[in-house]
């Protein structure tokens, strides 16, 4: 079987039938109570978050939400969060810390929303604060890229103890279209950019960014949602066991080192 290219993966994960956050939450967790709002400005529907149980363990779930049709996508802004989305995520993460619940983030976003109001309310600051606070959050954090891991908008929910990626998921510094535009001033070279940028799960394992690939059914997660979720459950079970056992000191040190060691240079 030929290897699926990054470009082909993009078309799989952009399939409107691909499971979204609510499908995963319903299949992986029980007793999901969604919590709303950043306590500052708004409730961003592009990110859902709340309390649930995973195999009887109370956890906090935070996930970007992709719509399945135009109507849903209008409500969730095509999974592109505003600052209030990241601030809601942080509020819920802090609550998880207070009650010693692990945090599980599911990420599938083209990126943080780029717009005037997002800038006015401090999109950059909101993401930055999440990176800093998640790095030192005194409870385990597991992030899973389930589709698109779009740049800072994904990283805002992906400073974690372990990063897993679904088999067809990608994670990149910029969308392939954006990359084509910046690198070659030609957005039609999207495909070329996708295949050049090293954005697949395998690439990211090699680069030391991702820790685990969760396999998908043939032709993508939408072909068998139950099987996809079973695979995620199995991963979470092991990953939570690994990370909940660590002492707080060890947990935070490993998390820091996970990111500290990334970077290639000579001197």
């Amino acid at each position: 079987m030929d290897k699926i290219t990054a470009w082909e993966k993009l078309s799989i994960i952009r399939n409107p039938k691909r499971p979204n956050a609510y499908d995963y939450i319903a299949n992986i967790f029980e007793n999901y109570y969604e919590m709303c709002g950043d306590r500052l400005y708004s409730d961003d529907r592009a990110i859902t978050g709340g309390i649930a149980t995973f195999e009887k363990l109370p956890v906090t779930v935070i996930a970007t939400v992709r719509g399945k049709n135009i109507e849903q996508n209008k409500e969730v802004n095509f999974a592109m969060a505003h600052p209030e989305g990241y601030r809601k995520a942080l509020r819920l993460a802090k609550q998880a810390e207070k009650f010693k619940r692990p945090v599980i983030c599911l990420v599938d976003t083209p990126g943080a929303y780029c717009g005037v109001q997002a800038e006015e309310r401090g999109q950059g600051e909101a993401i930055a604060r999440n990176l800093k606070e998640f790095m030192r959050l005194k409870t385990p954090i597991i992030s899973i890229i389930t589709g698109e891991g779009g740049s800072g908008g994904a990283l805002g929910l992906a400073v974690c103890d372990e990063l897993a990626m679904l088999e067809n998921a990608v994670y990149s510094v910029i969308s392939p279209r954006g990359a084509a535009n910046i690198l070659w001033r030609d957005s039609s070279k999207e495909k070329e950019a996708a295949n050049t940028m090293k954005i697949t799960a395998e690439d990211l394992i090699k680069l030391g960014v991702a820790d685990k690939i969760i396999s998908e059914p043939l032709c993508g997660a939408h072909n068998d949602i139950n099987m996809t979720c079973d695979n995620i459950v199995e991963y979470l079970f092991e990953s939570l066991k690994r990370n909940c056992k660590k002492s707080l000191e060890n947990l935070l040190e490993s998390r820091y080192n996970k990111f500290r060691k990334i970077g290639l240079f000579s001197e």
């Binding site: 109570y33 709303c36 709002g37 400005y41 708004s42 409730d43 363990l57 009650f99 066991k241």
Partner: protein, 291 residues
């Protein structure tokens, strides 16, 4: 805030028993007029569905005892500080008489009932404000009872469930009532530092100094549908900005879409949701496989 109290009262037309306001010629007390959608409903129908507007779902006010009855497990409630009652800290004219009259009328000593109970077996400290007592305004007694409830919760390592309802700070106690906001918020802070769970339920109406203190500080903030929640009175704001505000302004739904309410929960599901949240926040809840 006395103004606010009047405004809230007139806006919500709780005074439907006053025959002068009944323009339609129906015997007093027969109709409930919904403050949200203005629909008039026969009182019997309104009562039989648990004081909820059958047209728009607005959840109307309950007395503290009614609330306790539908929330706590039977026979589990133990009241705290039942005998705490008001004095007149700034010698406000007529205050004592007003309090006495309300005590006689409502059978309550003050605007909040606090204590300990179980909700489907989950033990918690509970506080329930009663808008029938001076619009559940917060004076020394309300402030002290809430503070003691949190302090006991810390001692006993218990979560707190608080049903908020209030016209705000109690004007008749002057600056002393303002300080109750800081005092109660301080108690919430200590309870939170102890790692304990605090859930607030915003009920109709939650306004002024109570919104601006303990009611907004829950780890989880629930609200009943369509209830009024806000800081300043609607007409005060309309007067300031010289614009009519939309109908849903300061509703629970408005608050949720602006980021200040976690969940809107119907009365019939409230006990169930509270039970689950209490259970999810229990430390002992950790299963074997993770140990």
């Amino acid at each position: 805030m006395e103004d606010l109290f009047k405004i809230v009262k007139s806006r919500l037309k709780i005074d439907i028993k006053n025959p002068r306001k009944n323009k339609v010629n129906i015997p007093s007390g027969l109709l409930f007029k919904c403050p949200r959608c203005q629909t008039a409903i026969f009182n019997d129908d309104f009562e039989s569905v648990g004081r909820i507007c059958t047209n728009c779902g607005y959840h109307s006010r309950l007395t503290a005892l009614q609330r306790l009855e539908i929330t706590a497990d039977k026979g589990t409630f133990v009241e705290y500080d039942a005998n705490l009652s008001s004095v007149n800290p700034i010698n406000f004219p007529g205050y004592e008489e007003k309090v006495k009259a309300l005590m006689a009328k409502t059978g309550l000593k003050e605007a909040i009932v606090t204590g300990e109970c179980e909700i489907r077996g989950e033990r918690c400290v509970i506080g329930i404000m009663d808008s029938h007592f001076m619009m559940a305004s917060m004076g020394s007694v309300v402030g002290e009872k809430i503070t003691r409830a949190f302090e006991r919760a810390i001692e006993k390592k218990l979560p707190v469930v608080l049903f908020a309802a209030s016209g705000g700070a109690r004007m008749q106690e002057g600056i002393v009532s303002l300080m109750q906001m800081a005092k109660t918020s301080g108690a919430v802070a200590l309870h939170s530092e102890a790692g304990l769970f605090y859930c607030t339920v915003l009920t109709d109406p939650t306004t002024g100094g109570v919104t601006a203190s303990f009611a907004s500080l829950g780890d989880v903030i629930l609200a009943e549908p369509k209830v009024l929640v806000g800081f300043a009175g609607r007409r005060v704001i309309e007067g300031t900005i010289k614009q009519r505000l939309p109908d849903e302004f300061q509703s629970a739904e408005f608050l949720q879409s602006h980021g200040f309410v976690d969940m809107i929960v119907e009365r019939k599901r409230m006990r169930h949701v509270l039970y689950h949240l209490l259970k999810l926040h229990k430390r002992e809840a950790i299963p074997e496989w993770i140990k």
